[in-house]
């Protein structure tokens, strides 16, 4: 980057001012940035409302946003080659941290997910959402397409080792998310349709085994999902209250900060996992449609970047990130609207929380880096 020859020699005069050169060379994607900013703006409004108008909660998230912006811009300046070089190390570190969590992790709500460091704590499983597509893209980038049996087998090992470690924490939501992300990468890598069907069959066959391995509370969640009224004050409570919040919002919603479910504390976890229910209650179907449009636009932009990318590693990385982003969105909304069991999965970019936000901004930074690589 240091020896990069000056570009845009024919640029207008004002661009020759000192510092402008740096800005002009900055890796940047205005569309993606605009969409992310819109999502973060929606997030701030919802967190403010959901926290009972506590400015301090919003302030904390503001700090998370600032950190994540810095990280986003910094990551965007790298070359995709660097990511490819780092991939195996990051993956190895991720696996190591997952093992550390299993042994030393801090429990929170019945699951060991956190590593406490002086000053802050973080969830290695969040980071794995990113490290897995990196590693897979790295591994598959020099394999001939369509994929042969052995690469597919190795890929499955790369996918399932972190996936099962996370599920063991137990964090079923993130585990499924990580595994689904791996399959997304395989899909974009051009695995044969027949292999896709075979793998799907394998996964379906594995479901009863999974049920047997589940913790009691996870089984209860699944049972509750199938019939929430079974236990209206216990584990079904979250789903019922969330559905009431969304349903009572109607077409136009009850208005910002006027959702009774959210403001009177009927809605659980409303700044984090259930923030979508706050949106549904206060902004109604129209607000939800706009949010869906934003997410679709982000995903569309990502897919566009993928198709415009020539090298296999970058292409698979973008595909993996975008697919992971979508699955996260899908699981969260499916969960809070009662389509899927409650598994504990934040809404990307919108839910309160630093780890998830920074992870996604790192991912989008990589997207920008890839999108901008041809400029150099």
């Amino acid at each position: 980057m240091i020896n990069r020859p000056p570009l845009y020699l024919n640029k207008p005069g004002w661009r020759r001012l000192p510092g402008i050169d740096f800005l002009a060379n900055l890796h940047w994607d205005s569309w993606l940035f605009l969409l992310i900013c819109l999502l973060l703006a929606a997030s701030s409004g919802l967190i403010y409302s959901a926290s009972s108008q506590k400015i301090i909660v919003l302030g904390k998230q503001g700090i998370h946003v600032l950190i994540s912006f810095v990280v986003f811009i910094a990551i965007a300046q790298f070359s995709p080659r660097t990511f490819k070089q780092w991939a195996p190390f990051l993956y190895a570190i991720g696996i190591f941290l997952l093992l550390v969590v299993l042994v030393f992790g801090t429990s929170s709500k019945g699951a060991q997910r956190w590593i406490n460091l002086p000053g802050f704590r973080f969830q290695p499983s969040e980071m794995m959402k990113l490290f897995l597509p990196l590693m897979l893209a790295h591994y598959l980038s020099n394999k001939t397409l369509p994929l042969k049996k052995i690469p597919i087998f190795v890929s499955l090992i790369i996918i399932f080792v972190p996936g099962l470690l996370i599920a063991k924490q137990p964090d079923l939501g993130t585990g499924i998310l990580v595994i689904a992300t791996g399959f997304g990468v395989l899909f974009f890598a051009g695995i044969r349709w027949s292999s896709i069907f075979k793998l799907s069959a394998l996964v379906l066959a594995g479901l009863p085994l999974l049920w047997w391995k589940l913790h009691d509370y996870q089984r209860a969640r699944v049972m509750t999902f199938l019939d929430p009224e079974r236990d209206p004050l216990g584990s079904g409570y979250h789903i019922i209250q969330s559905k009431i919040a969304i349903g009572s919002g109607g077409l136009y919603g009850k208005g910002w900060c006027h959702g009774t479910q959210a403001q009177l504390n009927f809605l659980p976890e409303r700044t984090t996992d259930f923030i979508f229910s706050v949106l549904g209650e206060e902004f109604g179907f129209i607000g939800i449609s706009l949010l869906f449009l934003l997410y679709f636009a982000v995903i569309f932009r990502g897919i566009l970047i993928m198709t415009q990318t020539a090298d296999t590693f970058s292409r698979l990385l973008v595909g993996g990130i975008i697919f992971s982003f979508f699955i996260c969105f899908f699981i969260n909304i499916g969960m809070v609207s009662g389509l899927l069991p409650v598994v504990g999965c934040p809404l990307p970019l919108v839910s309160y929380g630093g780890t998830s936000l920074v992870t996604w901004m790192v991912a989008f930074g990589m997207l920008v880096a890839i999108q901008s690589q041809h400029r150099n």
Binding site: L145, I246, G250, F300
Partner: protein, 611 residues
Amino acid sequence: MKQQRQPFLAQTDERFLTRQRALVGIVLIGMMILVLLGRVAYLQIIDHQKYATLSKRNQFHLSPIPPNRGLIYDRQGKLLARNVPAFHLAIIPEQVPDLTQTLDELEKIIPLEPQQRQAFLDKMAHHASHQRQILKFKLSEEEMSAFAVNQYRFPGVFLQVELIRDYPYGPLLAHILGYVSEANKEDLIRIDKKRYAGTFQLGKVGLEKYYEDSLQGEPGYQQIETDVLGREIRVMSTLPATSGADLHLTIDVELQEVITKALGNNRGAVVVLDPRNGEILAMVSVPSFDPNQFVRGLNQQAYQLLRQAADRPLFNRAIQGQYPPASTIKPIVALAGLSTQTINPQQRVFDPGFYQLNGAGRLYRDWQENGHGWTDLEKSIRESCDIYYYMLAEKLGIGQLSSWLSQVGLGKATGVDLPGEQIGLVPSSAWKKKALGTVWYPGETLITGIGQGYILATPLQIATVASYIANRGVAFRPHFNKDAPIENLTPLKIDNPNHWNTIIEPMRQVTQNSHGTAFRYFSGLAALNVAGKTGTAQVFGLKANEKYEHDAVARHLRDHSLFIAFAPADKPTIAMAIILENQRASAGVARQILEAYLTGSYHDQSSSPLS
């Protein structure tokens, strides 16, 4: 061919594959987003109404406002039952810094029973700490003022006000008004809980129970916004409560006081009716109890003490006490004899002091050891000759006897608007066969003729008999509610109305003739023209040759003394019955009552405890 083209196509293949997978991917993702959108549309548009309702139910809490219970007045407009504020000691646990210390400190100024403290701690354990709990109900005035000056020391502890029932006349009207009290388990099953929301106090006995429906009123509601823990956020709207309807009674509370005073420490009952319409002017049953202690909550021990007291203060003798009416029914038996032409007024019977069926066997004694000698109808009532009525009863037979006694309301409910009325008993051979499984003996007919034996009546029924005679065959349903319609009881029709005068004249003589059984009690009262009849009810049967010595037998086995009266005899405005348990001289008490009522002298007394 294919083998050769493979390397050539590799580049384009990958581009094609990428585009294809991207397209499939975006379409799949788009479809899945549409599934989510469909799900949300289902919740927000199709099922919106359902969830909006559920959300409202979450958000709002209806808090009942108890209605003011209807007031009760006497016939002069004196307030007999009112609602007064009571102060409860309440605690909001979450506002109390140190609960144990606070309770200890509170106990120093307001005595608490150990179970009160325990009950409070139990309640606290089962409710959220922001919910107010009552530590002690209905503080006394001293406790209230003791707390008021110390309140600053007890954050989170305060007085909670509630309207409770109060009976200013206390025991004087306890048997009539009854009382309201906390609903018990059976009540809670029976009542419409919505109507009692916020109070759960209801009429347990007496008029409070009988007129519960109209006295209670309808509760109002406050719609309160609450959070998930039930904490009140704000009041959204209020629907005021509808007070219960006031009740105006036929009772004259001053007369009630006169009677109660006249009865003194005796056990007994008095019923005073207006024979012209059935209005109950007074109904006294002594001893009585203080109904206010039930409102304020009676502990189990005190309640058992009241319930098991030997003189049964909770028992309303006027409508629940069943006594042999004794000689008070003699005028009716005489009327039966006249109307059936079994006797005529001039016919005389010799009374040697005893009577024998068919001139042999058991002796049925007269109350006067040596008998009354030759006795006609007039004398038989005036001097209460038993032999005359043994003879008459034998002639009438039990069938006719019980039929005539039934026609003046004995053996059936009067229909008074007070719960718990007993119906007494008019025996007949059919009754005896059914109830006791034995045949009717002729001797039993004789004693029925003088109101003894199986026959039983409540003081209210006996007063109704007096009112039948006073009104010459017409009587009205006795009632307390002044606004209730006047209802006729089945009239007693006889062929020759002159027979009424034939029995009323000797009743007049009972008080006014020097041979009258009540003459000595009514001396100097001739101007009021009282007609009456005495009666003495045996509590236990004497053996054939036994003599009754009032002072010689145990108190609870002594005879009851009865008296019925109405006045003025020619145009009665008052009819009454009195019974004194194990006591004599009920006519003397009756005289005080009649004199006070007919001269109106009692109105001069200042009787209102409210003034």
